[in-house]
């Protein structure tokens, strides 16, 4: 029974070996002539300014989080809207109520967010 898994084992061994070989090959064969520009931090071709370890305002994360939240809402709404025709006429209320509940839950989050001032930038 375990015989079926031998190909997977071989593949795993190959994958590990390949990774190790690649890492060491580039280390031994690759040419090395470093200069200050090469060693500096890569910032899309710009000259590095200051340290990368800055503190970001928490508002930034707040906006990002809310964006993801409502982005996902759209992602769910879109296929629902496309498939909505298929629910007519038998189960149209079912589909409508299902989505209403989903939106109502997100609406609570929206009210909460507005009242707590998550969107006030200053």
């Amino acid at each position: 029974m375990l015989n079926n898994y031998i190909p997977i084992l071989i593949l795993m061994l190959f994958a590990i070996a390949f990774a190790i070989v690649c890492v060491f090959l580039s280390k031994f064969i690759g040419p090395k002539n470093p200069n200050p520009v090469k060693l500096s931090t890569y910032e899309s071709g710009m000259e590095p300014v200051g340290t990368a370890r800055q503190r970001f305002s928490v508002k930034y994360y707040m906006a990002a989080m809310l964006f993801i939240l409502f982005d996902i809402e759209i992602v769910f709404l879109y296929p629902w809207a496309v498939a909505y025709r298929k629910f007519i006429p038998n189960t149209v209320y079912y589909a409508l109520i299902e989505m209403s509940v989903f939106i109502a839950i997100l609406l609570v989050g929206y009210i909460y967010m507005i009242r707590k001032g998550a969107l006030n930038w200053d």
């Binding site: 029974m1 375990l2 898994y5 189960t91 079912y94 839950i105 609570v108 989050g109 009210i111 909460y112 507005i114 009242r115 707590k116």
Partner: protein
Amino acid sequence: MINKADFINNIPLLIIAATSLLILIIEAIFPHGKKKIGEKIIFYLSIVSLIVAINYSFPQLTVNSLFFSSFLRLSTFSVVVNITMLLGILITVLSSKEYLEKEGINYGEYYSLLFIATLGMMLMVMAYDLIIVFVGLEIMSISFYVLAGFMRKRLESNESALKYFLLGAFFTGFLLMGIALIYGYTGSTSYSFFTNFKNQTEPTYFLGIVLILIAFIFKTGSFPLQMWIPDVYQGAPTVVTGMMSSVGKTAAFGALLVFFTTFGLEKFSMLIAILAILTMLYGNVVALLQTNIKRLLAYSSIAHAGYILIGFILVTPSSTHAVVFYLVSYVLMQLGAFIVIGIVEAQADTMEDRSLSNTLESYKGLGKTNPGLASILSIFLFSLAGIPPFAGFWGKYYIFLSVIQNNFIWVAIVGILLSLIGVYYYIKVILFMWFYEPVTGTIQKSKSEFAFTAAVISTIGLFLFGIYPDLLLRYIRAIF
């Protein structure tokens, strides 16, 4: 397709879900002012909705069928465990008000998160599909991560939340990988499907079960994966620790029991027996050396996970009854002990004093400065040690009885010997409270009426089920 019966039979679940949203709205509408109208409304609303949910759960004890396109299963087992958890959350809500006010974190979000966690825990126990187990576990865990870090200004609380989050997220991956492997082999995630696969030894399927088992061992805090328990339990707010260590574990064990009965894991019985013994050994022995009472109870909760795990060696009706009885008594006594610790902690005025008040030293002479509190804590500790006439004794009794009936007598002998070690550190705390002089001056009388009420409710429960266990067994015996 969802029909009316799904909603009517799952009213407790819906109440809990609706309350969590309602609390968020109330929190948003009422500003934090001097009058604290919002806080009061939220507190009483939580209590009322929990009582209503418990009330609606009792008629379901006789229901035994599948709901929501066979994603959820209501059985006597799941309803009994749900009622236990709801009761535990009710006690937690009662006990947390004064503690949170003292810490200055009495926000509505706490209650909302508590309710969301409850929703997840109920889903976990009622789940009849591996995906629902996963969803419930995640809802519960994510709420727990936030609750553990609820005291934002305390460093140890942040540490606890971060540790819990990183490890929890890691082991959720194990659960998901296990589900994926089982799905890959059987082509389904529904529990009703797996009865055909009971004696499979196909490696994919086997590995899937083992991975899910690993995730559950982590969540229940059993031996090889117990390392997160002391740090997380010590750092989290005391009321949250009490809730996590009792109600959270109940949910994990409840889901694990459903998993065991579905998959028929008799071939794991020797492994579980060894794990149970190692868990008891580790928890009891390391607890001997602790100087912080929260840490001590964290290690004792590891030991208790070991006792409960004994019931999983062979899942028979008698061991299921024993596990459920143990869980009920464990929720009452563990939660009660943490409530008392929370009351003691809330008596100190500064943040440093509150951290210090968790050391065993500061419990010296509590019997003289606050006899009421000390006697209640003594009752909880006696019950945790398994001394009659408290419910903890019957919990241990039925657990060891069931394992003897299943012909694992050596496990019972080792377990009883190890629980004797446990008696030492419980008695040590009681000794500190009653036979030592107070270290610091007189502690003022506590103003935590709600928390005290909650502790008294737990005590009454322990006495009631200890003296008259049939009160509880009547419901539990109906499980199979």
